[in-house]
Subunit: 259 residues, 6 copies
């Protein structure tokens, strides 16, 4: 082992190497009612995803033939160290951060689905963060894809949908930059200290669906950005494997959905 490598590794709070994902567990069928239900844990972050499929589409697209997918994201009031007001119950409506994140989740998962193949139906992906420890929005995308696949598979098994309703599997991961290097799948403590926080949604093959990065204090050089992007895209096969594993255990043949 290279000593420098070893030093660098030690500096992550949980002892991971810079390119290590946190431990992920994906439990399907956690709730009884949703067409797709996923309890997703990555390190200290827990997201409950519930996917509902309803007949009908929003008014603005009723003249078309296809369907729609939308997401809602909410922090459980005690997802963090201090209790926060229940999102949406304050006078100001949905919290701005939640609004921003649920839009990203919706865009990301719409890219995964062939909306013109699902009939005039609306897929709603509810993402509730039960424990927050960094990376909740990309966790919601990764888990959300599993939930959407479960839901579409359920409809397919009821002969309501044909093959090929998924365009491509998608997953998400966050990358930070701190201490002169890119760090994969940063936890809250790392995120807080990072110079940039980059959220990536992509395919197994590394094609990009969404990129959203913010330099926290001072601008960062493009070279660092490229390093982060490469690290994140490089993790997509591992994320894809986690998703496929959970879907297989749940009896979902992803290839038929993507067909």
């Amino acid at each position: 082992m290279v000593p420098g490598m070893s030093d660098a590794t030690k500096s992550r709070p949980d002892g991971r190497a810079p390119s290590d994902l946190r431990t992920v567990t994906i439990e399907t069928g956690f709730q009884r009612n949703p067409e797709g239900s996923v309890l997703y844990r990555a390190g200290g972050t827990t997201v409950l995803v519930s996917v509902s499929v309803a007949e009908g589409v929003p008014a603005w697209m009723q003249s078309g033939r296809g369907g729609w997918l939308t997401a809602e994201y909410a922090m459980h009031p005690r997802a963090n160290a201090r209790r926060q007001r229940r999102d949406g119950r304050s006078a100001a409506g949905v919290d701005g951060r939640s609004a921003e994140i649920q839009r990203l989740i919706g865009r990301s998962l719409r890219a995964a689905v062939r909306l013109d193949q699902i009939g005039q139906r609306t897929i709603t992906v509810d993402c509730d963060v039960l424990d927050g420890d960094g990376g909740t929005r990309t966790a919601a995308v990764t888990a959300g894809f599993v939930g959407v696949a479960l839901a579409l598979d359920a409809l397919r098994k009821r002969a309501l949908l044909g093959r090929g309703v998924l365009r491509v599997p998608v997953g998400g991961v966050s990358v930070g930059y701190a201490g002169g290097r890119a760090l994969l799948d940063v936890c809250y403590q790392e995120d807080r200290d990072a110079q940039m926080d980059l959220n990536i949604v992509a395919t197994r093959a590394g094609a990009i669906i969404e990129v959203q990065g913010t330099a926290e204090a001072s601008p960062i050089p493009r070279q660092h950005f490229d390093e982060m992007l490469a690290l994140g895209l490089g993790a997509m096969p591992a994320i894809d494997a986690l998703q496929r594993g959970a879907l297989e255990r749940a009896g979902v043949a992803l290839d038929e959905l993507c067909g």
Copy 2:
């Protein structure tokens, strides 16, 4: 087996006898952050309880010396067969049913705590129904008591509280009346068909904290009401035992808290 008994038993959808509780599981420590965290399942009903303790009390009681306890209750948008709007995100604010229920939970759990012994602190009990199949409000009380005990025990272990901060353990159960008899712990299907739905919050010894019953179609004779009340109060020792078991497994000595 008595034929009538057998017939009656068969008529409950899940084969229970009229005085049977549903199968209950109580998982503590489900979330990482709350002082008290409980995932409570009773048959097809699942409630996630999160208890937070914060310094300070609401403005209206700041001149006093004691603390306060309040509850929030929300249905997960997909707790039922159809997705509902996320509670609190509609224009009309908190749903009326949620408002009614969270007030009952708060009153019930305040009766369990010696608020004058907890200092100027506010205990918030978040009750999120993840799956709804009847009896969610009394499930929230039963699980809420476990969560409050966990939270007060955690403060006590940090030497922030003394003995005797709990007045008395409390639990809740619902009773229905259908087919000429009282039925314990009704599920949604039974509740829908019952002539009366009675929610009871009480102590192990059967002392009453809250009673709330509604005749669904026509008024019912007092004799039936008394039968229901007796059935519910009779189940309190069993509920108490479930709570104590979960707390023991979590290392909480209930007697010291109640001391």
Copy 3:
């Protein structure tokens, strides 16, 4: 006179015996526009009830054949010693207490009406507390029934409804427990000091429609609860007589409506 009785009587703030109702006046036709209008005073409590009948039913029941009844309850901003914010004008929407109470009123009055006999109409019962001195929710039920009977009678006189649109007359009363005995129809001062506050909605014959009781500090034995329930149900004939008297003076033949 028995000395103990006499002592007990003296201890009520207004000199009533434990089983005495407060003085009640029921003025019908107070407002010009509603199908049923009632100004109801019981001691220091004043509730203005306005019953409106409109064609049509809520969307969720449009496929059925019958009608619907709903209630709104609001405190006048100066119903109490200090002015409060006008209910519904705060950021948080309808006050939680109002939401809880208007649901109880709605359930209670729906039990009184044969909704399947009133056509596709919606009855709205507006209950505005102009002066609050305890017992406002049961006052709203008692007055609300008078208002509903006035409204249905008005429709019946216009030949829009047949006989038998009322199932059964209902009334409400509150009972407290203090000083070792049950007290009927408690005023605010008694309510504040009571160990339990019990709200009862029932028929003249004592059949139960709604029971809602809360132990204020410590749990109370079932025996005390039973004593309270008996006291409340025992008052129903007197309440029924007050309602019938007001309706008779207004020219309403209750028996034809109940027929």
Copy 4:
């Protein structure tokens, strides 16, 4: 009787002459709690006025020495022929018409009070229209002045205020223009058909506090406007007499308050 006069008189729906006020009754002390309570009826219009005096002033004027007066105006949901949504419970907050009117009432009554003489107190004038039949905003001003005088008199009798806290009595009246002449105190039916609706707030002597007039369909000549203004100002002594009568019966010496 002059035939033309007679014809003109006959054309008002209730047989009044063009310069007749409707019958007014002013009942003080209708509610128990407010410092000033007035039930005001003018023909088919009924307004309940409740005046509250609280210690303290809004944040924006806390550096000053005087007090503040504000008004709230709301239609009872069944003040009109059809039930309307309860004001303030809709998603859009306070109805625009109510907002406009309560601002006029507040301005008008602030002109009546020497705010710098009432200490750091806030007077809130709640105006609830129980029956609407035209002229509700000026009825609220006329009744509101009575309520404010009652409230200030109550404080004066508790020795909390000195002489001269009122600047000048004020009252309001509406005037319509229809059929080629000005009509005093128009009811709803006349208002609906009028070419202009003019609301006037003024003193007994005819000095102007607020004028607000709207031509309903086409612009009207200044000469007609002047005729309306003269008719309204000419009614102020009669309105003042009604207010004084009610205050005298309630034991209020207006001259000491105005001193």
Copy 5:
């Protein structure tokens, strides 16, 4: 020069004579999308008017044949010396002052349009105050009329409307009373110190559409009111000329619209 005249003139903050309007500029076509767009500046007041014409009318008038016109008025958060909360983003919904003003604008401009001649269309007049220095509501009426004429002309040029869709041109002006005389078109500083603030909407010929005046401290004699009204009505030809000039430069033939 008469000395008194000269003194009086000097006392206006910007050196105007009592009967002088502020300098007005009217820029049409400021925004690209609206059917009518006007940037209106009068002294230190700037109002951006945007007129939109949409197919369809509000639900409550769908059974009729004509159209509707409505206005929205909002202060830019930095229209004044201190930044204010963005109107409508506070918990309380639209600010009361804005609600009052936009109702006045709507009424005034509806008087200018033959709503029964524009088909089932809704005209929305958005008035955004970018700089506030007094007289914003009457500026919005004056500019709003120009915008409505631009919009109707645009529809007429697309052959969607015939001649005569305007009833009459309307404009607005504010008048103050200070220092013993009426002052035309008061700026904020004058308005703040005035005894009365009078807003007038009228035609070129001085026929009245809306009058709204408020005595700020003490009631004012009718004679002063009349003086103010005369001064305001006397300015209408000058305001009309400014409107016509702007419309002519934009190629709009007002006479055809009014035909």
Copy 6:
């Protein structure tokens, strides 16, 4: 000229080359009151930026020493082809898209300011889109920086701030990918048809502050993303020059602020 180049150029709706910015005009001092006021036009997009500086900071940072910067973004109701509801006046509060965008603007401009050097002050950047034709969020960043510099310069000229309150000038630009190539500064029509829409906030030197890109239909290869990023970063010197030009004309010495 290479024919392929020429064809490509022709295909942009306004005839620009792929790496051309739209024509930009920056008018400072458009509003009278803000510390910094900018009317920014880029092609068919117009953004009004108003920068306000107020004493004090939000409650959550009051224990610190520095200041804060926040942004609000709103579409004018007629910024687009159809009128939309005024943002914030709907029941649901601030539109989700606006919430997302104003968070991006705030983060971007906070990176430009040394918040620890501005004292306990809050800078609010109001961005109102008057005409929308693509690129509004990056236009708001570019114009917002000019406004912030104007505001800080104004404070500096009043000797309230020292040198070096700006960390670095920042600007924004959007890039699309369509027809097999990256296109700079896309207008609405191009944006709608693009495979990816990328928003970049960066310094003159190309250091990155914020990157936010969304693939509209199918994922895009990293190579295309890199091409887009390079095109956007390459435009930063031109954007910086436009900003500097406007600030120079307004008499602001950027170097002293950046000191």
